[in-house]
């Protein structure tokens, strides 16, 4: 069920990017897509009745059932890079506002 919800999130994020003229809402749509993709990758790596992949006093031996650790490593990297993308995009949006006085892309000659 979470896989289906995260695919819906990707569709909603794509609709949000394509259907608006405001630069800030385009960045909100990119962030919604990112969250959807991260949840989907973690849900693909889940094992039924699997434990979190850490050896501790409760799970001391590594022959029990564990959840996939490679998916979590990829998603960790993806979350931090998403923050970098959002920061850079918002600085570009500020430069647009400074030059044209508005966040609306139809008045800057960028979109028709």
């Amino acid at each position: 069920m979470i896989k289906f919800a995260s695919l819906l999130l990707i569709i909603i994020g794509l609709y949000g990017i394509l259907s608006t003229r405001n630069v800030i809402k385009i960045l909100v749509g990119i962030n919604v897509m990112e969250i959807g993709i991260n949840v989907f990758i973690i849900a693909m790596g889940f094992v039924n009745d699997g434990a979190a992949p850490i050896l501790s006093v409760d799970n001391p031996v590594n022959v029990l059932k564990f959840v996939d650790p490679v998916a979590q490593a990829l998603v960790l990297t993806s979350i931090v890079i998403g923050l970098g993308i959002t920061a850079l995009g918002l600085v570009f949006a500020r430069k647009i506002h400074k030059k044209y006085g508005t966040y609306d892309l139809s008045e800057t000659g960028g979109e028709s």
């Binding site: 069920m1 979470i2 289906f4 919800a5 995260s6 819906l8 999130l9 909603i12 994020g13 609709y15 949000g16 405001n22 800030i24 809402k25 960045l27 909100v28 749509g29 962030n31 919604v32 969250i35 959807g36 991260n38 949840v39 973690i42 849900a43 889940f46 699997g50 434990a51 979190a52 850490i54 959840v67 979590q72 998603v75 960790l76 979350i79 931090v80 923050l83 959002t86 920061a87 918002l90 949006a93 500020r94 006085g101 508005t102 966040y103 609306d104």
Partner: protein
């Protein structure tokens, strides 16, 4: 129908509802606040799927830093009346 299925269904419904509100609403501040709520629901989803590393990282980055840099970009718009 054990507790895992019920929690999974609840988190899925909240994910879709918050995403729709964040994308469709006309005011910018509403979109930003629902994006932060969506991020927190994703943290609950990560904790349910046995991924503690990812949940801690998304909680720290999604709640404090992303919301702050969005709000810092639109806080000057109140005088210009540009959708706030």
């Amino acid at each position: 129908m054990n507790w895992f299925d019920i929690l999974e269904a609840g988190i899925s419904v909240f994910l879709v509802v918050f995403a729709l509100t964040a994308v469709i609403s006309r005011k910018l501040l509403t979109s930003i606040i629902f994006l932060s709520a969506l991020s927190m629901t994703a943290v609950a989803g990560f904790a349910l799927l046995s991924a503690p590393d990812v949940a801690v990282t998304e909680a720290v980055i999604g709640s404090g830093l992303v919301t702050f840099i969005f709000v810092a970009s639109i806080r000057n718009l109140r005088k210009a009346g540009d959708g706030l």
